[in-house]
Amino acid sequence: MNGITHLEMYQFVSLMLLGLGLFGLVRRRSLVGMLISVELMLNGAGLSIVASGQLTPASAAMGQLATLFVMGLAAAEVALILAIIIVVSRRFGHIESNNLRTMRG
């Protein structure tokens, strides 16, 4: 394994998830597609935290629980975004982010 450590391997996988998520976030035009991309990025973050906790002398338990918090935040965020998407689709009839231009109270 020419000089690449286990930690680096996992970090590169999570970096790949971050890149895919950013790519999808900019490329997607519907809100659901953007939501899926955000989930990819959050997964990358969780993988990175657990890898850092498990493979270095840092506290493994704290690393694992930090990832658990990331998952909880992701669940809360998805519940809110689901409600927002439903409101947007009721009001505009579509969820294409390009055409959501009016802001009314």
């Binding site: 970096l15 900019v26 899926i36 657990v50 409600a83």
Partner: protein, 169 residues
């Protein structure tokens, strides 16, 4: 045994890559969601490989069990046109811009990972559940309480947003 771990890691990485590409490239939202679920399973496999079975279980329980179902509801409830497909891309500008946006942080962080001073590595060890619980209520007590507040607020907010139309009338 060592080689078996590398093989498993390669398979999981392949699953994650395939699922991630499906999630960002498929025009059908349902297929993109299937790609996301594939990625979630791949990441759960990585957690297992790092001797963190509890987190792997939570990943499947929370992400595959709850988050992806919520996204499926979002797809269903928006009454998108058949198959929930995005309109085809006429100009590739958007994809090019997306590539540029994704490449910059990849290059910067990737370079940092390769050049940075890495802490001495230890072989991963499984943390007993009791210790996880102890950590949750000792150093992480505030975060633990805050996340329950956040979950409650998010749930209440989602319900209020959902009822918004009826209140307005």
């Amino acid at each position: 045994m060592e080689h078996l771990a590398y093989v498993a890691f390669g398979i999981y990485t392949l699953i994650i890559l395939t699922g991630g590409l499906m999630a960002v490239l498929c025009r059908s939202m349902v297929r993109a969601l299937v790609g996301l679920i594939l990625t979630l399973f791949g990441v759960a496999g990585c957690y297992l490989l790092m001797a963190a079975p509890f987190i792997a279980l939570m990943q499947i329980l929370i992400y595959v069990g709850a988050v992806s179902i919520l996204i499926l509801f979002a797809i269903m409830l928006t009454r998108a046109p058949a198959g929930a497909e995005e309109a085809p891309y006429i100009f590739p500008w958007r994809s090019l811009a997306a590539l540029a946006v994704a490449f910059l942080p990849l290059a910067v962080i990737g370079g940092m990972i390769r050049s940075g001073q890495v802490a001495p590595l230890v072989p991963p060890e499984e943390v007993p559940l009791a210790e996880l619980g102890q950590t949750l209520i000792e150093p992480y007590l505030l975060a633990f309480e805050l996340i329950s507040v956040i979950l409650t607020v998010a749930m209440a907010g989602a319900v209020i947003l959902g009822f918004e139309r009826r209140i307005g009338k």
